[in-house]
């Protein structure tokens, strides 16, 4: 607004906003995480329509009901779509160049009806590429037990 000379950015006040929330991951994600520790990929299944959710969801949005069944899925899947990411979001909430470009893909595990957004360790990628989970030998925690995916030989 041009309402006065030299008004540009008179003052910036920094307003810290860094709350930490402690979400319950829910019983379903807890079972999924427990599975990952044992290198098992567990998905939830809707008894009514048979839809298989991975990551597991507690509710089938189509049937408006809880998903009550579990299925263990193979480590293999198919790339539904992908991107070569050159930037990511830095801690300050702005885009920053990644040290190395990385492939991010939506992988649909064999037997699943939904996708997981995952990293694919490869030079190249394409839609339809068959991939396999790569387990982290020494995970820091449960979240990086499943480190990435690689092309199936």
């Amino acid at each position: 607004m041009k309402s006065g000379e030299g008004l540009k950015n008179v003052k910036r006040m920094s307003v810290p906003f860094a709350p930490v929330f402690n979400w319950s991951v829910g019983n379903w994600m807890e079972q999924f995480f427990d599975g990952l520790k044992q290198k098992k990929i567990l998905a939830s299944k809707c008894a009514a329509c048979g839809r298989v959710y991975l990551p597991p969801r507690m509710i089938c949005e189509r049937c408006f009901d809880k998903t009550e069944e579990w299925v263990e899925l193979p480590e293999t899947g198919t790339v539904e779509t992908y991107t070569m990411a050159h930037v990511g979001v830095a801690d300050n909430g702005e885009l920053e160049d990644l040290p190395e470009p990385q492939i991010i893909a939506m992988v649909k595990h064999d037997g699943a009806d939904t996708c997981m957004a995952v990293r694919v360790d490869a030079q190249d990628c394409n839609v339809g590429l068959r991939v396999k989970a790569v387990w982290n030998a020494e995970p820091d925690g449960v979240l990086d037990a499943l480190s990435a995916y690689r092309a199936l030989d």
């Binding site: 929330f21 991951v25 994600m29 990551p55 779509t81 990411a85 909430g93 702005e94 957004a117 839609v127």
Partner: protein, 380 residues
């Protein structure tokens, strides 16, 4: 609709990278100007609906201190924490209830204030996707773009053509933030790659700005200086991005079908004279052509190649420059509605398209356009 409702006033602030004004002053300017254009005063306002976001504004109940600049003091007032096109929907419903005759609708945000890409990350599933750190607005849109390209054989050049068209159109819109005189496909293709296939010129620019519109019903609308009548509206919500096909915009198609049924439109590609679409990323405009029935499924690329959506084409899309030219979050879709209304009333200035009788406006919220809302506006 039982009661006829029209847009009778509108205003947008200039869109800037770093506006030299507080949010309250941006809102005051837009609201006062919109009200003045409607020929009304604050006393005439029945209800005020704002679109703003606690996270973007860095405060909870972020509409609280907008009471003064929006004209809402001691009036019926509420808020949506979504795009402003949904605030207009809420206002429309308030008017259709019969309890009010005039509604003020405002959307605003300042990207210069908040960490630009953090809000998008905050919309991710917290227990998995947010923890993994892979998805954000740009990478998610890139996954959507690749999926669409792969299914229908769309080229990067066809996507770049959307950006070239819109950024070129923006030159004639004095309020636009990003305008590129004579923008070309080559220029867009030469811009920095963010997440393939999304390049910098194919992604929304961080923007400060506000938009306000005045809606009126009944006699107030009939006696107004100008009126762009709301003939139809439709809105649908799709699944979370990992749980739906990303190669099409199903919720937008459903919203359009609903809207067209209400507006009595059977052949949108012929009956609609102009569209203002919320293309946060260039490829979304091609996907929207298909979902809105402007062309057949999978033919979005051919449709842009045909020149149909240029300013001088048979169905101009985003003469204002669209969201690629300015994206004040929460105001962007509302601005599409204002722009569509301006085209109907003949007040779009240098980017006016001749003979617009029926115009479409589209707003969206959520990663990969999870929720979509469509309006059809008509003249007398």
């Amino acid at each position: 609709m039982e009661r006829e409702v029209a847009i009778i006033g509108y205003a947008q602030t200039p869109y800037e990278e770093d506006a030299d004004a507080s949010r309250e002053i941006l809102v005051l300017r837009a609201a006062r100007e919109a009200l003045a254009s409607a020929g009304l005063s604050r006393d005439d306002i029945g209800t005020v609906i704002t679109a703003n976001n606690d996270y973007l504004d860095g405060r909870t109940i972020s509409n609280m201190r907008l009471v003064e600049p929006s004209g809402a003091c001691l009036k019926d007032e509420s808020k949506v924490e979504m795009d402003g096109a949904y605030a207009a929907l809420y206002a429309l419903m308030r008017l259709l209830s019969g309890f009010h005759d005039v509604a003020m609708v405002i959307g605003e945000s300042q990207a210069s204030v908040y960490p630009t890409y953090a809000p998008g990350v905050m919309t991710l599933d917290p227990t998995w996707d947010r923890q993994r750190g892979l998805l954000n607005e740009v990478s998610a849109a890139a996954l959507q773009a690749r999926s669409y390209m792969n299914t229908y054989g769309i080229s990067e050049e066809q996507i770049a053509a959307v950006a070239a068209k819109n950024l070129g159109n923006a030159v004639k819109n004095p309020l636009a933030l990003r305008a590129v005189p004579g923008a070309t496909v080559e220029q867009v293709m030469g811009s920095r790659m963010l997440c393939s296939p999304i390049r910098e010129m194919c992604a929304w620019p961080a923007t400060d700005g506000a938009c306000a519109i005045v809606l009126a019903a009944g006699d107030v609308a009939r006696k107004a200086n100008r009126a762009a009548w709301i003939r139809g509206v439709g809105f649908y919500h799709d699944s979370y991005l990992t749980e739906r096909p990303l190669d099409k915009m199903t919720s937008l198609k459903m919203a359009a079908d609903k809207c067209y049924a209400m507006a009595g439109i059977e052949h949108p590609e012929v009956e609609i004279d102009l569209a203002e679409i919320s293309e946060l990323f260039a490829h979304e405009e091609l996907m929207a052509y298909e979902a809105l029935g402007f062309c057949a499924e999978g033919k979005g690329g051919e449709f842009i190649d045909s020149g149909a959506t240029r300013m001088d084409g048979i169905l101009p899309v985003n003469p204002s420059g669209g969201v690629l030219a300015a994206n004040a979050v929460c105001a962007a879709g509302l601005a599409r509605l204002a722009e569509a209304a301006m085209q109907i009333t003949g007040e779009a200035g240098d980017h006016q398209v001749k003979g617009v009788k029926t115009a479409l406006a589209h707003g969206q919220t959520g990663l990969c356009a999870q929720e979509n809302i469509v309006y059809v506006l008509g003249g007398e």
